[in-house]
């Protein structure tokens, strides 16, 4: 284990020992030193090469912070050389541009040769052929992409946990960033309602079914009828009523006649007045008759007459009373 040597080339840690000499747990690991995403809940690995604690220091040496600047040195040197060459070429080209233009014109259209043999003509033909090939390749590529892209996208979508992505999105925060008021202000609701087939929608709505499903009892219980009535200005309502028109439309005379006919008011009046008068007259008659009897007794007593029991139905003078006959008349 102690003979393990490490080499770091271009940020790649290589364990050059043969795998046959190692235990399965010690198989060298070639890893790109690029931070790979790992689940947050997993603890950071203690060792990337082996499971032993001796390799902890080695792995610490392979971290990005501890890489030697060899790559940077090489890249910096290459970049400096490139810039130097670029500046040199630029200067040379600036100096040679007038001369090169004349030489190029002579070279492309050499005098004494027919035009079809000019290099310029040949270059033009080559450019045209290249353009055709390019177009053909583009078309073929587009066709190939049209076939491949759906397949690739399907495979990608199948491999992606879309719901997991959605769950990781903070939809509340996203919604908070939306200015719904501004959207509402920009909406032309009038045009929306004008274009909507309201009548067709209303005709398809089963209002009866909705009404049957509505439980009105708790709603009615929650209504403060007293407050509603208190808020109603009955005086204003009464002032707006045209009672004359209402009364004019009511057949008061007909109703009164029906009530009178139902009550048989004349019969009631006749009975009441008749009974009252008959009772009063009966009282007067009987009291006067009793008074007559009392006066007669008093007179008889004063005059010393013997009073015989009256023979009802016969006259005082003994003759048969003709009252019944009179009454009959």
């Amino acid at each position: 284990m102690g003979s393990i040597t490490h080499a770091v080339v271009l940020g790649v840690a290589v364990v050059p020992r043969s795998e046959a000499e190692m235990e399965p747990a010690q198989i060298p690991v070639v890893r790109a030193d690029i931070p790979s995403p790992r689940p947050a809940e997993e603890p950071p690995p203690a060792a990337t090469g082996t499971a032993t604690g001796e390799q902890t220091d080695t792995n610490a040496d392979a971290s990005p912070e501890s890489l030697p600047p060899v790559v940077d040195v090489l890249l910096g040197a290459g970049a400096g050389l490139f810039r130097l060459a670029e500046r040199s070429v630029h200067r040379v080209s600036n100096m040679a541009r007038p001369l090169a233009g004349s030489l190029a014109a002579v070279a492309l259209r050499p005098p004494g040769l027919p035009e079809r043999l000019h290099p310029e003509t040949q270059l033009r033909l080559l450019a045209e052929r290249g353009r055709r090939e390019r177009v053909t390749v583009e078309q073929s590529g587009a066709e190939l992409l049209r076939v491949l892209v759906p397949l690739i996208v399907d495979k990608l979508l199948d491999s992606i946990d879309m719901m997991g992505i959605v769950r990781r999105i903070d939809l509340d925060a996203a919604v908070r960033t939306v200015d719904i008021d501004a959207i509402a202000r920009r909406l032309d609701l009038g045009a929306v309602f004008d274009s909507a087939p309201i009548e067709r929608i209303v005709t398809r709505v089963d209002v009866d079914a909705i009404a049957e499903r509505v439980d009105l009892e708790p709603i009615v219980k929650r209504v403060d009828v007293d407050a509603v009535v208190a808020a109603v200005d009955l005086d204003a309502v009464a002032a707006r009523l045209d009672l004359d028109a209402i009364i004019a439309r009511v057949d008061v005379v007909g109703i009164a006649q029906e009530v009178v006919e139902a009550l048989d008011l004349p019969e009631i009046i006749r009975r009441s007045t008749g009974s009252m008068s008959s009772d009063a007259v009966r009282g007067v008659r009987m009291r006067s008759m009793q008074a007559d009897e009392s006066v007669a007794r008093l007179t008889d007593r004063l005059l010393g007459r013997r009073r015989s029991n009256p023979d009802h139905g016969s006259s005082p003078d003994g003759s048969k009373d003709g009252l019944d006959d009179v009454g009959a008349r």
Partner: protein
């Protein structure tokens, strides 16, 4: 009889059932009326006639007012004239009532009827004589309180009788 009843317009062609007389009246039925009942009946008739006389006077004054409103004033009426007029009205009223139905309005209220000695309705002359006698000598009514047969002066002189007759 059935056809006669039907012609009278009785419901069902049958006469109405007579109303029963009060139980308390039966002992007095057909008996001569006493002075109290007669006096009350006379008072009712006198009030009625006086009311008619006053109404006639007011009507006459109203006509005079309509005829000449500017010079209108209630005319003075001598008491003797008034008594004579009222007495005449009373005599005519009594005569008409006794000669037709045998009872005045006062008699109707007090359940009395005036008949002759046979219980028949008075002749118009008989009734007129009794009416004049009652108007001229009203105090003759109180003789009925003294006589055993409860006859007033006019009954004694003209052989008439006033009896209880509850109208049915």
């Amino acid at each position: 009889m059935t056809s006669a009843h039907a012609s009278d317009g009785w419901a069902g062609g049958r006469p109405p059932a007579p109303r029963a007389l009060p139980e308390a009246f039966l002992p007095y039925r057909g008996q001569p009326a006493g002075v109290i009942s007669r006096s009350l009946a006379g008072g009712v008739d006198l009030a009625l006639v006086v009311t008619v006389g006053v109404s006639m006077y007011l009507g006459y004054s109203g006509l005079r007012f309509l005829w000449n409103p500017r010079d209108f004033h209630f005319g003075s009426l001598h008491w003797l004239v008034a008594v004579v007029v009222e007495g005449t009205l009373l005599a005519v009223y009594l005569t008409a009532c006794w000669a037709t139905s045998g009872r005045t309005y006062g008699d109707r209220v007090l359940a009395l009827r005036v008949t002759d000695a046979n219980g028949d309705r008075l002749h118009v002359v008989h009734a007129l004589a009794r009416a004049v006698l009652c108007v001229v000598i009203p105090l003759g009514l109180f003789l009925s309180a003294l006589t055993a047969t409860k006859r007033s002066l006019s009954d004694v002189l003209l052989r008439t009788t006033v009896r209880y007759d509850w109208e049915r």
